[in-house]
Symmetry: C2
């Protein structure tokens, strides 16, 4: 049996592998990006519309596309429902855009560090990475992949000036600008969240998710694309899975119609802001001498850089696993793992563990790190 | 903007394009493969399990994987739940297998004609087709894609001898055998439906769907793979959409547990057998002098070959559209559209139109064809 050459480039996602471990009830996990279980809509049953049982349109059900267009307009991006494609989660958007634009050797500019499952997909299709630091100007590339609002993993939110600079630089390189915006609603401070693609002169794709603001188990997201890219993306969506689950589309539509969405988002922000603040105060107590970090203005993560330049967070994870505490080492988030900080960074999720587990877990983790960097 | 080279090979699926037309209520459609609306489970509401809202495992929820393994064992294929992957519809399985095995120029043996959305995916990844007639021995290839039970579009069901011959020939070529079995339950006559991959000496993938036996709007299918292929396929599934919708997984699990599945399948078979017989009798009345066909032993389609060797069913479709009747011309089902029958074949779906529409639609279509072949 001869596997396709791309399979040599496919590595398993460490997050997904770790998730398997965290299913053991006695493990304290800061690893995944799991929303809080108590943040989910309380609706416990769903009337299944008759129409949701039959095959549907590849681009999604029309009323939901209209609703998404309105939502995206509210964020400051002019949007025609015809340009909206409903996705089976926004991970699928990355697969579709990679198919659309990435051949073996295609230059793709990505933040360093960036969302690791995006790297997984772009690598599968043979991307040649041109890394840049979050917030900085991207190098020349056919495609620029960007997570400008509460970036995963760093939490960085591009300033108004950084957003404008990004538009200008991408236009100069005639790059397709691909903005991934899953954490948009999880905003804890006043900051500019206007989509970078808004007013962009070239071609672009913008995508969002209902995983963080409603529920990830639904696997429902969406993309909006510039005129030139809509039809090719719909054809790729057809080929990928015909269309997205209509039960989930009906459920999301129902929630967007029935609930006071703005109020729900406010409650969600309050909920996560309190979790962030608590997590931050426990970090202050235990990690002040060990690491540097910024308080994230949104999203689900703290990003720590250990002060010891020779620290190896992958090795520390091994020791932490033995103590039943897990986190994400920084390394897999780097397009080039030779980056100076690749081995001394780590990502901590603050949204899923209980207050008690946060206190116990960080109290276990800090001395482990302290002894590793001192040994 | 520079699209990936594969995009030159991607054509829109004509079935999906036609589906858009058939949404007009006054169009009689024999085009799609839509199950009958009155065949769907009558359950109108769903208790949403709390766990279904959170992220889940890429390979699918374990109880559903166990249930699927038991179902597949019942078909005569030994199956460990660890080897089952839940899919977002079985179209996704084709995407995953193409990613796993198809590089530009990889020889892929496919039936001629075959399922057109499989051709769409294999072409996207650059397959070099080696066509063979349904039921015949495949030529040498890395991958053999097969729809042996009530083949789409021809309805052919491989005999016991043809199944055994397929196993022997694929093993001789050391090909990966990819069996697509969406119509398994829609069986109207006694025939051997044992999976061809059962007892196959080489590597294989078998896939099935809940679209025909439960409801296509759920977009839920599954694959089972030989030991070597399971882990790479799970990694590809992660990269494609993280995991499949858990609401749909819960709904399917509930139906498989709560209903008397065997009785449900019997009712479904009776329902569709009656539709097939009625459709067949109307065809006899109108098309006896125009075309040849076999009564399908299962599945959802009649496959007609017009007697006139110069007939062009794509041109006839244009005329039929004007009369608000649609069907699928044969051409897009052929890996090589220069095949002698590519232009004089057509596929007619018998599962979705009402009895009245079948009678009216075929009464419109027959004279259209008669005048086209005489003109």
């Amino acid at each position: 049996m001869q596997l396709a050459t791309r399979m040599d480039r496919l590595v398993s996602s460490p997050v997904r592998d770790l998730l398997a471990l965290t299913e053991q009830p006695d493990v304290i996990s800061f690893a995944g990006g799991l929303p809080a279980q108590d943040s989910f809509p309380s609706r416990a049953s769903l009337e299944i519309p008759e129409s949701a049982l039959q095959y549907g349109a590849s681009e999604g059900d029309w009323p939901l596309r209209e609703r998404i267009a309105a939502l995206v307009c509210g964020r400051g991006l002019q949007c025609d429902p015809e340009h909206v494609i409903v996705l089976s989660g926004s991970q699928q958007g990355i697969d579709l855009v990679a198919k659309l634009l990435v051949d073996t050797g295609t230059p793709v500019a990505v933040e360093s560090p960036t969302y690791l499952a995006a790297l997984q997909v772009f690598s599968l299709f043979g991307a040649h990475y041109r890394p840049f630091a979050p917030g900085q100007a991207p190098p020349s590339a056919n495609l620029v992949y960007l997570n400008p609002t509460f970036q995963n993993p760093t939490g960085h939110c591009y300033s108004t000036a950084e957003r404008e600079h990004m538009r200008v630089e991408c236009a100069r390189h005639q790059a397709v600008l691909f903005e991934d915006d899953p954490y948009h609603d999880l905003c804890f401070e006043n900051c500019d969240r206007t989509p970078v693609v808004s007013g962009y002169a070239g071609d672009w794709v913008y995508q969002g998710s209902f995983s963080k603001s409603l529920a990830p188990g639904m696997r429902l997201g969406y993309l909006v694309a510039s005129e030139n890219l809509v039809q090719p993306l719909i054809r790729l969506k057809q080929a990928a899975d015909l269309h997205s689950n209509r039960l989930a589309q009906a459920w999301v539509m129902h929630l967007l119609e029935a609930e006071h969405t703005a109020e729900r988002v406010c409650r969600l922000q309050d909920h996560y802001r309190a979790r962030r603040d608590h997590f931050g105060s426990v970090l202050d107590a235990h990690f002040g001498d060990l690491a540097d970090w910024s308080l994230p203005e949104g999203g689900l993560f703290f990003w720590l850089t250990l002060r010891d330049r020779h620290a190896d967070t992958t090795a520390i994870l091994e020791a932490a696993l033995a103590e039943k505490v897990v986190f994400m080492p920084g390394r897999p988030f780097y397009p080039d793992t030779r980056h100076a900080d690749a081995n001394r960074t780590l990502r901590l999720n603050f949204s899923n563990a209980t207050r008690d587990d946060v206190e116990r877990g960080l109290a276990v983790l800090a001395p482990l790190i302290r002894s590793a960097v001192q040994g």
